[in-house]
Symmetry: C2
Subunit: 150 residues, 2 copies
DNA sequence: TTTGAAATCCGAGGGAA
DNA sequence: TTCCCTCGGATTTCAAA
């Protein structure tokens, strides 16, 4: 992970469709060098995924909710696996406190949140209680850090 | 947003580098059609960004923290703008309760969290109090929903 | 709005420094 | 590792339906 790698990552973070040729010319190296670096970063697992960020409102998942969950410590892994399998659950984290698990959820609206997510969580063995944090507006959303001021 | 658009979005969500030709052949339409649809989705703002997801540990931002912030209601927009400008702050949401603002943060470690983020927030006019939720492990992270089971 | 063809340009791999 | 070169294939455009 030298400066070349970090520059490549930064450019791909801003636009993952950018051509290797463009990165190469800005870096002053050969296209094939950039090409191989990108593959290496991907194979090493530094880059996990090439993806897109959708506008939640325009793509039909307007409601973003964070949910804290407390569980029987013995069933934590089961619960996590159940959560991971839910399509509306975008992110799953483990914590120490005040919850055991914390998830980020996107749904069309509150009724979909209840039906597709909260109901499933409540019915999952090992779940003790949940606490939902509903958001009303999204002001920024990046998948990862872009060094340098925008 | 018909079935064609949704299929394109789903494929780009899984891999934003996928070729238009591949999407086209699976959909049974012309490559140029897919090409135009992708551009349209981007111009319409449905697709906000083509980006990558980095492994936090391997890319030097191992610590994911969520922070709830309460503010003077008159200074909410100022605070939000300050937060948006911070590189380590990946996501910024507005809520009704129990906080006014909720952010997702990535830093190298706790000391960077304190220096680059918590200190700045504490010194921002209008901030009443903050509450940090530190995560210990990431089990899933997607930028948006992928319909159909993985 | 979609299509199909044409021209340009890019990605991918192998061999040399 | 990086660079150069080349080929196969993708992107992009445009006129026509």
């Amino acid at each position: 992970m030298d400066l070349t790698d970090r520059t490549i990552i930064e450019k791909l973070t801003r636009d993952s469709r950018i051509h290797c040729t463009e990165i190469a010319s800005e870096l002053g190296v050969a296209t094939s060098t950039v090409h191989k670096r990108v593959n290496q970063l991907y194979n090493d697992g530094v880059i996990e995924q090439f993806t897109i960020i959708l506008n939640p409102e325009k793509s039909g998942t307007a409601l973003t909710t964070f949910i804290g969950i407390n569980v029987d410590s013995g069933r934590k892994d089961e619960v996590i696996n159940t959560l991971k399998s839910l399509n509306n659950v975008l992110e799953v984290y483990e914590l120490l406190e005040p919850y055991d698990i914390f998830v980020k959820v996107r749904t069309r609206d509150i009724s979909e949140l209840k039906e597709n997510v909260l109901r499933v969580i409540a019915n999952t063995k090992g779940v003790l209680n949940t606490s939902s944090i509903l958001t009303t507006r999204r002001h920024k959303e990046n998948a990862c850090i872009t060094k340098n001021g925008d």
